[in-house]
């Protein structure tokens, strides 16, 4: 049984230096040990040590695969592995049961070293029904392990997805290491003492599967039991039934002969700098980043939002933290969501609206108003597949040009893009810094992959967080020719070009602002041609002048002539691909953009330093278009719009070709 050994290419995702030698070329199990299983029952089972594993749980939308994946992730995180996750689910809440469109999956990659992606191909597939097997088999490499729920492999469910013969019996899975397990029957059997209906008992089969996998990979189980008891606190019987199913799955692995081997993946101690860690998803990190920004700015947080996938979890999360003074307003539509946020910004709040691409389209006019009013406002766009409704639960980076240009008139808006789930925290703070310092709306461009994916996060100390405090205008800022002291709402800070933020309630600063063009300084309505020209250029200059860190290039050997440049959530796969290329002796430089508007000041110079620049994006080349327009650099655009993140292997091939060209 050699299925779980990493291929050399996969090993190369490791950041470890050449001194590290991965075990053989995929034929041998890594580092056999003679350890005993964690409990006594027999105790003679073999335990093997692995450096990394990719597991995919797949089942029907109603089978609880996301929960199962979340729990396994949590166990893995608390064990101390590095990890990366990829939930993948249909937009329908309950697509017709047992069908291919109804398949929901959760992939988890965990390792004893630093990893960057949820992995290209699973080592283990858990298939809860024929549809899950059929929908996922193409991604599973030969030799991998497949655990199937045999109870579902009956005539009708198989016919529903076009299996004429039983794949468990017809030899079509001979290349895999299949574990047939009657998950449903075993679960019902394990719960017969609970007096539940068959249907109720059956529902716990995902916990049975989780228990089995937890045994297989030596995961700590206490947190899952505690989680189940808390989740079903109001239904103690259901809680105990789930715990029982979970334990039954664990014991099944321990006792049955079909599972002869269990695996250990040691904690990734070397991968993590000292600190306290937790697992965190992108949307949670982003929510926490907003609350942190509110605290660091000493301004109340106000969220105006309308539910939309995949952004709604931020609304849900923030609405749970009212004890931080967070106000969440679920508006009647996307327009009112941002409208309310802008109103709160006028009143002196740290204002945020959260949405996805279709919502941005509806908010465009209000974003333009915010540009004209020059008020701080965060527009969080969790990008999903488009155009129109597109693919609500899948990922894409195709809103970049919408964020950049999707408004009437010259309406520049800064753009910040996080690169990993945990980075959403820092990106939110950075976006808030720009909004508050420059009195401007700011786009925060996350995406579905970051939003729902998770990874370990070193929890920052409070004193590491940036100071975001701002000064509201408190008195007159201008003296008229006759000596009168007045307040001019559009008299700018000479450094930042930001205008004063004078909030209602401040005596003597009563003023009116609006979307009509304003006279420089006074803010009075002005249709003067020269003034309009000046104001348009000044608003642009303000955004162009925003301070953003210089772009850092990673080129350890200093010999690279090819640069790969990405932005946003492609960071993981690009970096994994770069490691593979370098491990094979290729020279490649890597840089990743957090700031898309304005670009870092040294970007043009960096582009000029390389013979070739490769720009991978999950769109049809939007960053490439901006770079070509701005720097006249003919970058090589590599694109994918499948709704799924890039695979490291795929990008490594592209980069090798670019180097060799």
């Amino acid at each position: 049984m050699t299925s779980q050994v990493s291929s050399p290419a996969e090993q190369a995702d490791s950041a470890e230096q050449p001194g590290f030698s991965p075990p053989g070329a995929g034929e041998e199990p890594s580092r056999l040990t003679g350890q005993r299983g964690p409990t006594a029952n027999g105790g003679s089972k073999e335990v093997r040590r692995l450096d990394r594993v990719i597991i995919r749980f797949a089942g029907d939308s109603g089978d609880g695969m996301q929960l199962t994946g979340d729990r396994f992730t949590s166990e893995t995180a608390s064990f101390g592995n590095d990890l990366s996750t990829l939930p993948n689910f249909p937009a329908e809440i309950r697509a017709p049961a047992g069908t291919l469109p109804g398949v929901s999956s959760f992939q988890l990659h965990f390792a004893d070293h630093d990893i960057l992606t949820p992995g290209d191909a699973p080592n283990v597939l858990v298939a809860m029904n024929p549809a899950a097997l059929k929908a996922n088999l193409a991604d599973v490499p030969r030799g991998a392990e497949i655990i199937v729920n045999t109870d579902e492999f009956t005539k009708r469910p198989m016919a529903k997805v076009g299996y004429d013969t039983n794949p468990l019996e017809d030899g079509s899975l001979d290349a895999y290491n299949v574990h047939p397990v009657p998950l449903t029957t075993l679960t019902i059997e394990a719960l017969k003492e609970f007096g539940l209906s068959r249907k109720e008992a059956e529902r716990s089969k995902n916990m049975f599967a989780l228990g089995l996998l937890s045994w297989m990979y030596h995961r700590p189980t206490e947190s899952t039991e505690a989680f189940l008891r808390k989740k079903f606190a109001k239904k103690p019987q259901i809680a105990e039934a789930n715990v029982a199913a979970f334990r039954a799955g664990w014991n099944f692995g321990e006792t049955t002969e079909d599972f002869a081997v269990s695996y250990e993946v040691a904690p990734a101690t070397a991968a993590f700098p000292p600190g306290t860690y937790r697992n965190i998803s992108g949307n949670l990190a982003l929510s926490y980043g907003l609350i942190a920004a509110s605290r660091q700015a000493d301004l109340p947080l106000y969220l105006g939002s309308y539910p939309i996938t995949p952004a709604s979890d931020i609304l849900h999360e923030l609405s749970r933290h009212k004890n931080f003074g967070v106000r969440t307003f679920q508006a009647e539509d996307e327009i009112a969501g941002i409208g309310a946020a802008l109103g709160a910004a006028f009143g002196g709040a740290l204002a945020v609206t959260t949405t996805s691409g279709p919502g941005v389209a509806l908010k465009s006019e209000t974003i333009g108003l915010a540009v004209s009013l020059e008020l701080p406002l965060l527009v969080v766009d969790i990008q999903r597949g488009g155009p129109s409704t597109g693919l609500p639960t899948k990922t894409e980076q195709a809103d970049l040009l919408q964020a950049m240009y999707g408004r009437n008139g010259e309406a520049p808006v800064p753009i910040v893009a996080p690169k990993t789930p945990a980075d959403c925290f820092d990106a939110a703070l950075d976006a808030a810094r720009i909004a508050l310092t420059y009195r401007t709306p700011v786009f925060l461009l996350s995406d579905g992959y970051l939003a729902n994916g998770s990874e370990p996060w070193r929890i920052p100390e409070m004193d590491e967080l940036p100071d975001l405090r701002v000064q509201f205008a408190a008195g007159p800022n201008h003296t008229l020719a006759d000596g009168t002291e007045v307040f001019w709402p559009y008299k700018r800070d000479p450094e930042t070009l930001a205008r004063p933020w004078a909030v209602p309630g401040t005596p003597g600063l009563e003023h009116r602002i609006g979307g009509i063009e304003k006279q420089d300084g006074t803010g009075n309505i002005s249709y003067d041609p020269a003034n309009h020209d000046f104001m348009v250029r000044t608003r642009q200059a303000k955004v162009d002048g925003i301070t953003v860190p210089e772009l850092a290039v990673d080129d350890p050997g200093g010999q690279a002539r090819t640069l790969v440049l990405g932005w946003g959530s492609t960071y993981g796969p690009i970096t994994a691909a770069v490691r593979r290329v370098r491990r094979e002796g290729g020279h490649i430089a890597q840089a990743h953009l957090r700031h898309l508007n304005p670009f870092p000041a040294n970007l043009g110079q960096i582009l000029g330093n390389y013979r070739r620049v490769v720009v991978p994006e999950m769109n049809l080349g939007q960053l490439a278009t901006l770079l070509r327009a701005r720097y006249l650099t003919d970058v090589r655009s590599y694109t994918q719009v499948s709704g799924m993140p890039f695979k490291a292997e795929q990008l490594a091939t592209v980069l090798k070709e670019a180097i060799d060209d």
Binding site: H321, N323, A331, G339, F346, L369, L373, P504, L509, G514
Partner: protein, 349 residues
């Protein structure tokens, strides 16, 4: 002082109308009804005695929406139809402000219809002044959602095909707690309605019939001409019998068979049946029936005054209460604790 204004700081000194005039030149067409409304609002504000820095006027787009520029308070001239949404964000985050929305029939009922009805049902602490001139003025004379069916305008040379909205009926249907109607030229009545609206906790909608002397001149003449008005206008006063006409000879009674309202000549026999106006009635039924009384073509029997004035929970108050309750139940939020969560591990260097 009612709940509506109790959190708003008071002015330190006596105010006058002048204090509320901004330095901006008023740019409505000469003769526009908006001038009269502006004067009435500026004249009424000192009576509230609020610190003027705590008053905000928010508007959308249209002739009426220029209003905030002329008020020496805080103000925002926003985008078409969105003023109620923007004002909702302001009012719910700043309960120490008195927030007024100025809008028109196109702004509030066409492009912004959704925001209007949702503000009303939520009962945010906003005072909405809806200037209804039954025409699009700023875009130079197209029919509006309150224009009468068959209206000939630039965009409807053969007559409008749209049945109009009745703003008062619409507001009542949207669960509004305070709904009133008044007329631009009747300063006394307008001021009295503003007075009641200002004191109302929650959303108050005031429809103001306003003359556009350029594109729809005389639209409400029947309600303004002294002689015609006697028969056309029904003045609603809480607790008073609903009577009007020369010598108050007419009255509103409930038709026993249909339950609907109708206008009758008052006689000693039916005098006892004349409806006594109850703006505080929990049920909006009678207010709604009153809103349907006017003849849409002639405007005869048009009630003005406060149709409905009932107290409902105010959104901003509920929102603030939840924040307080959250602190009581969970303690004041601690960021370090939040970020750590329940499931951490430590890596030692």
């Amino acid at each position: 002082m009612t709940e509506a204004l109790k959190l708003v700081p008071k002015a330190e000194a006596q105010q006058s109308m002048k204090d509320f005039k901004s330095d901006q030149e008023v740019r409505w067409c000469p003769g526009c009804g908006d001038y009269a409304i502006l004067a009435a609002v500026q004249g009424f504000m000192p009576e509230l005695g609020l610190a003027k820095e705590n008053i905000v006027f928010v508007s959308g787009i249209g002739c009426s929406s220029r209003f905030p520029y002329y008020m020496n308070t805080y103000g925002m001239h926003s985008i078409h139809g969105r003023a109620p949404a923007i004002a909702t964000g302001l009012a719910t985050s700043r309960r120490d402000l008195s927030v007024w929305v100025v809008t028109g029939d196109g702004d509030a009922l066409s492009i912004g219809g959704n925001h209007l009805i949702h503000a009303l049902r939520r009962n945010v602490n906003l005072k909405i002044l809806l200037f209804n001139n039954r025409i699009y003025g700023l875009t130079k004379g197209q029919y509006s959602p309150t224009s009468e069916l068959g209206k000939i305008t630039k965009s409807t040379p053969m007559g409008s095909l749209d049945a109009p909205f009745n703003p008062v009926s619409l507001a009542l249907g949207a669960e509004a707690g305070f709904v009133a109607r008044t007329v631009d030229s009747d300063r006394k009545h307008l001021t009295e309605v503003l007075r009641q609206a200002a004191q109302h906790p929650g959303t108050a909608l005031v429809e103001i019939y306003q003359n556009c002397n350029i594109f729809n001149d005389g639209a409400f003449e029947v309600l303004k001409d002294k002689q015609q008005a006697e028969e056309a206008v029904i003045r609603l006063e809480h607790g008073q019998p609903i009577r009007f006409g020369v010598d108050r000879s007419k009255g509103v009674v409930r038709n026993q068979a249909t339950g609907d309202l109708e206008v009758v000549e008052v006689t000693p026999e039916n005098e006892a049946r004349v409806l006594v106006h109850d703006a505080h009635s929990a049920s909006p039924t009678t207010a709604f029936a009153l809103s349907r009384l006017a003849n849409p073509d002639t405007l005869h029997h048009t009630p003005i005054g406060v149709f409905r004035d009932v107290q409902r929970p105010v959104y901003d108050t509920l929102m603030a209460d939840q924040l307080e309750t959250a602190v009581e139940q969970q303690g004041k939020g601690d960021l370090a604790t939040l970020l750590a969560g329940n499931d951490t591990w430590t890596v030692v260097g």
